[in-house]
Symmetry: C2
Subunit: 313 residues, 2 copies
């Protein structure tokens, strides 16, 4: 089974399903980025994984649906509405569906399964929790009319502010009271192997680890947990993981990632570019496996999938 954020996780999962039966794979997906906008419940990471595994993701942007149209957003802009979070027409249908089902009393788990099935996704997708957990960031500096110290929702930081502002703290509102979604702890206990996908350790995997029970379940299976570093040669392939690590007192390197995961993972897969840091990873108590980790093609993703399956200590 896998712990997943957005784009990096989706790519690794797309690699995994090329080398194993998709139905044997469970992905527990971050919902700390979820938001309600225009009254619609949006689950960005769940959608990225679903669209990618459903073969409809927009590979150019890394989010949304391929061949998307923008009629609603264009009309909303004409009305003077909030259009900073770009929602394509087909993407909107997902959010309408989810919101309507939730309003009828369905759980996020149920809706996630329904949307995955509708898109022909064979992997079992679980949100990390059916309870609301919201990743929030405390700004370390002024951003527009937001003074330093402002507490902003993840998408405000990531999209509206273009993750171009320094942060000094991250919190996961609601995590203390959240229960893992049905099946999450069972899957963690029963899995032959557990993979932490190459997602942001702080804001993508961090929310999962903040939910009572999930971190402990991982720690109990530490030898079977293989993480893939999202940091390659000191930089994030996508997003602000490198800067966030530094801003929050970590090191933007595979050694910094190893320190984040030292309690829950026995192995860290690092890129060939970071071969020289294998010793630093081992110094954190994790075995280092050096391999090509940049999933620039489906073949490379499949090769990485095969590698993590064989990587268990």
């Amino acid at each position: 089974m896998t712990l997943a954020g957005g784009v990096g996780a989706a790519r690794l999962l797309a690699g995994l399903v090329q080398v194993v039966d998709p139905s044997s794979v469970t992905a527990v997906v971050n919902t700390g980025d979820d938001m309600v906008l225009h009254g619609l419940h949006i689950s960005p990471d769940v959608d990225t994984v679903t669209y990618t595994l459903g073969g409809v993701s927009n590979l150019d942007t890394g989010w949304g649906v391929a061949g998307e149209t923008w009629h609603v957003m264009a009309a909303l802009e004409n009305l003077g509405g909030e259009a900073w979070f770009r929602l394509g027409d087909r993407d909107l249908a997902t959010h309408l569906y989810r919101t309507q089902r939730l309003s009828q009393g369905a759980t996020l788990s149920e809706v996630t399964a329904e949307l995955a099935r509708a898109r022909g996704v064979g992997v079992r997708l679980l949100p990390m929790s059916d309870d609301p957990v919201r990743t929030r960031l405390t700004l370390a500096e002024t951003a527009g009319d937001l003074p330093a110290g402002s507490d902003v929702a993840f998408q405000d930081y990531f999209v509206r502010l273009g993750h171009g502002v320094a942060v000094r703290a991250v919190s996961f509102t609601g995590a203390d009271a959240a229960r893992p979604a049905p099946g999450v702890l069972e899957a963690l206990a029963a899995a032959e192997q557990i993979v932490i996908c190459p997602s942001n350790p702080i804001v993508s995997i961090g929310p999962l680890l903040a939910i009572p029970g999930i971190g402990a379940a991982l720690a109990a299976r530490r030898d079977d947990v293989v993480a893939v570093s999202p940091i390659v040669a000191g930089a994030a392939l996508k997003g602000p993981a490198d800067r966030l690590l530094v801003e929050l007192g970590h090191e933007a390197s595979v050694a910094g990632v190893a320190r984040c995961y030292a309690g829950v993972a026995g192995t860290l897969v690092i890129d060939e570019a970071d071969a020289g840091l294998a010793g630093a990873v081992e110094a954190e108590g994790l075995r280092a496996i050096v391999a090509p980790t940049v999933m620039s093609t489906p073949e490379r993703a499949a090769a990485l999938g095969r590698l993590v399956l064989d990587a268990r200590r």
Copy 2:
């Protein structure tokens, strides 16, 4: 000022603005049909009036936006979502805007004014109330899996059931506690003249009259209130007004309409086709004015607008 439902009201208002300064016209619009679907707050009558006065209404269907596209709805159907209430892409932008603004604490009055301004509507549009009032119908017979006696929301009756089922009662949930929207009572008190548009007396104008204060304010101005019959030659031009009148114990004729409005209107404009019933209208205590009322062209709508302006007793 005018009391308005959907299509018939929108047409008369479009006629009025041809003959008077739009800014001198206030329309208090029914919101009893409002609903939340897919998490979105939809105000069908307000939208019909706004789209019509904004020059973007779909004249073929009588609802929605001209030249509409349906990408979201098609994708929603592919997902197995609820698609019985057809929401075009441009129409959806209206609902996203409204829902987002309401979630930010704006009132329905404020949002209605913003959307009207964005569409270049010169008439002052007021929802009947900023408080939720919901028109509900009690079915007199079985409809699909709904047994007789079921209590359904207006759009379930009107759209989902295609208003093809008999009803035995109408109620306006929340009306008792609802306050007229800001400006409504002031406009009723100050207006030179008050026009009840050719809308369904029971489910379009009925909700307005059910709000404490509005009926009394009309009754106090009864001599200045001119209603236009939505029933022509015993039939509704659009919708189920004729059947509803009969099912609820009224007469599907201009005399039946006169009886509905006897307490609040001094004058009823009836179509030439109903000239023979002028006496029956007068017997209900209303003056009858006979005129062409079918607004099949903008010219006819303007002529009817001119006529109602001159019609005050």
